[in-house]
Chain length 350, copies 2
């Protein structure tokens, strides 16, 4: 086992980044060497105080500029938890590659960047190889529940005819921002107006999941469509941060279909709403694959999106350090796994 700790910087100290810092703090063999975030409410504050954990002698102060945090040789990997889109994350990733550090990005599009940004994906791959580092995008979805897990289950199949994936989750645990992004509480015409303007986020990641699954299996996708619909409630629904009156929007129902050789063989369903139980909806992750043998998988309730994303980003750190240089995706690396012992035992010697 190597002696040196795995030195990590976290860039973006929101719900995800701070959750990762806490998780890493509780593991053996890691060392957080810096935190970067521009939010004036936390700049200059102690990471330990913000996480409400006891402070050691050497404090870690939230820095607003990444140049003061990532220094060559003092950090092995950066978790970038700032964006959803590859285009926005790209300049940060490029800068990090040039510092010679490995990168894990939480940006949904980075889970399979080739799908929406093939040119940037190629640039990142070439640059990462030049600098001898590895770049990975991951998360619970895209990254695992609607793509990598599907791929893994086909591993015991001779043939695959059709794939249906559903992730039915509750938005009740989430805060104000998510309520707005998903249209919770809007009336139907307001929802449709914002949808047409393109200002409703909904789920980002269908094209990435389709790209990952089809490339892994060798499917040639000939067409792809996705839709966004309001989930209109027929009863009042109240959650901690959201309220949808009867007749208004309780969430957003997103669906996608990919055609292979003109057959609609891959269907993704992802309805998200507050208090789904009130409408008789049971949350869960469901994968149904027609073929030989057929597979009908369910995980009830769904894997929690917040903790799940925090966990998979941290858990992939050893795999990213062990990987050959370049841009990697989840289908290139060994299966993810929890880190229950000393992370240094998971790092291969050079």
């Amino acid at each position: 086992m190597r002696h040196e700790t795995v030195k990590v910087v976290i860039w973006g100290f929101g719900a995800m980044g701070s959750g990762m810092a806490k998780m890493i703090h509780n593991k053996i063999g890691f060392q957080i060497v810096g935190i970067c975030d521009r939010n004036p409410e936390i700049v200059g504050k102690s990471m330990y105080e913000l996480l409400k954990i006891s402070k050691p002698k050497k404090d870690i102060i939230i820095q607003p500029n990444i140049e003061n945090v990532v220094k060559k040789g003092e950090c092995e990997i950066v978790i970038l938890a700032t964006d959803s889109f590859t285009k926005k994350a790209y300049p940060k990733i490029e800068w990090l590659i040039r510092q010679g550090v490995n990168v894990i990005s939480t940006a949904e599009e980075m889970a399979y960047p080739k799908a929406n940004e093939p040119d940037l994906a190629l640039k990142m791959d070439v640059l990462a190889k030049e600098y001898g580092v590895t770049v990975l995008g991951t998360g619970v979805n895209p990254g695992m529940m609607m793509d990598l897990l599907v791929v893994a289950l086909t591993g015991v199949m001779e043939s695959v005819d059709k794939i249906e994936v559903s992730r039915i989750n509750s938005l009740s645990p989430f805060g104000k921002t998510v309520m707005e992004e998903q249209g919770v509480g809007m009336n139907v015409s307001e929802f449709k107006h914002k949808m047409e303007l393109g200002t409703l986020a909904g789920h980002v990641g269908f094209k990435e999941s389709v790209g990952m699954i089809s490339d892994a299996l060798g499917w040639n996708v000939t067409d792809f469509k996705q839709t966004m619909m309001p989930i209109i409630t027929d009863i009042d629904r109240q959650s901690a941060y959201g309220f949808a009156a009867k007749g208004d929007v309780a969430g957003v129902d997103m669906n996608a279909t990919a055609w292979v050789d003109n057959q609609p063989v891959l269907n993704l369903h992802h309805p998200q709403q507050i208090e789904p139980e009130l409408a008789g909806v049971l949350t869960g992750d469901y994968i149904d694959i027609e073929g030989n043998p057929p597979i009908h998988m369910s995980i009830k309730p769904e894997v929690n999106g917040g903790v799940g994303t925090i966990a998979i980003c941290v858990n992939m750190i050893p795999h990213v350090i062990n990987a050959k240089p370049g841009l990697k995706t989840m289908i290139d690396l060994p299966v993810p796994r929890a880190i229950l012992g000393d992370v240094r035992q998971m790092i291969e010697e050079e």
Copy 2:
């Protein structure tokens, strides 16, 4: 994409080996270059005739001696489908390594050979590296349903407290040999007598699954126990090849527990019987993991053991060819996946 086909030899042409030959025959980019089996009933016969598929100009005849089948440079990988135990498979694997070919073994113990045969595992690893080839053991169980899939699901978890895995399957589709190995139709005293003599096979693989899971997660196993019990039926049960009268044995119930730091945190349940529905037993694969977040997965009915093993062995061929030399296990390689396109597109260029 490379031009050359992936040249495969199958050693052992029983239910598994012949199923793999048929699967490979139906895929693009593969070429079966030889079949070896000692069974006098099939030696000298045409593979195509035995598989009931139309014969091309160049026939493939079942050969009794592997020396006549595997020739240096004419074969890239051998699937060895002859044994359950590493000790019995080892001389064959050693010979294959020395021919410079990659090996996939269906032997249950080979799914994690370190668990029962650490010395042989080390020898295979050293030898495979010396000859520049890769050796992998896999199958549906051990290899996937009770181990690799468990590992993969923990990838979205921050912490893991306890793991329960159940594979409840029907023996009804299987033939005479399996009925005898699992004690179907015996009276209880006969079953117990054979169990004490050690002549009842039951499930081989618990120690391998425990080894794979605990090494992947970094758990230090301090104790391991497994038990075998008859499943006594309270009604007559009739399947295609088996019959258990009321009061006799309908199958075998195997259970294992692994202790980590003296806590029984990993429990494996694997009851196998004919006509489980008659006793109100629903077949399936179940994984329940306590921790953060908790995960409750079910696959109903269970992934078919026969087709599943055939598929995963064939599906791992590109991963084995792409891997660095040495003895590998499923936790070292990228996630398994079905091969739906041309397998040559899955082979990395040197």
